[in-house]
Symmetry: C2
């Protein structure tokens, strides 16, 4: 039964409707591009928050390695979501106007997150914590390339 698929398809239809309502001039493909990168950011936000709960000793770090790997693989594919030059959502036009800088930052983020995930294989929370500081430069990048939410 393809009920899982129906679930996300329903979600996408709802999301798509909202995006189109606020941006009537956008083409369907552009809406998809925006929706996709918003999903990537949403997943990395949840992944890093869950990992953060382990690092800050709020929950046991039983799933430290798998959680760090999930974030690393999301980071690995994240730049692809910005390759279509489709301004909109919270992305500033500078993402594409300063693509060399933006893509370099995203590649560094992916590389350092991967190093963090490798360190997590040992189950050593401190080793992950140290690398997390260096890897998750979310705020610096958001301050430069993301419009603040209203």
């Amino acid at each position: 039964m393809y009920s899982g698929g129906i679930r996300w398809l329903t979600g996408l239809v709802i999301t798509g409707t909202l995006v189109m309502a606020s941006q009537p001039a956008a083409l369907a493909d552009d809406d998809d591009a925006i929706t996709y990168r918003q999903l990537i950011m949403k997943e990395m936000d949840a992944e890093s928050s869950a990992l953060g709960m382990m690092i800050s000793d709020q929950i046991p770090p039983d799933a430290l390695a798998s959680q760090a790997k999930a974030l690393a693989f999301s980071a690995k594919g994240a730049l692809k979501a910005f390759e279509p030059k489709v301004p909109g959502g919270e992305a500033k036009p500078d993402v594409w106007a300063k693509w060399d800088d933006f893509s370099k930052r995203m590649q560094t983020f992916a590389q350092k997150t991967d190093e963090m995930a490798k360190a997590a294989e040992s189950g050593n929370v401190s080793a992950v914590s140290e690398r997390m500081i260096d890897a998750l430069t979310c705020k610096q990048c958001h301050d430069t390339y993301r419009n603040k939410k209203n």
Copy 2:
């Protein structure tokens, strides 16, 4: 600079405040357990939606393998989030009353999602699509173990 960490810590504080406001009797550790499993579900929802956009040809499947891997690693660690017996959020008490069934479903989900991610390494969208139907039984499990959102 640890601004990434500050970002998720801020998010957690806000989330924690909301949970505590609606459930004043819960202990702080219980709030953390609930927040954690909600993050895990949130990340898998975004991961599967992003993967779904590739399968349904809404976006190019350039990041097919990394996206499937991200979901597989999240699924691998997901059961851990439910091990603390803390009813609340949208989880029905049956999660723990029928733990054998619940944990078996989650283990099967993790196993089949891993098989899907291995198939994704080839970049073959059809191979992922076929396994996705079998792996992502989200709705069946939600119908049984999750209270509907109001």
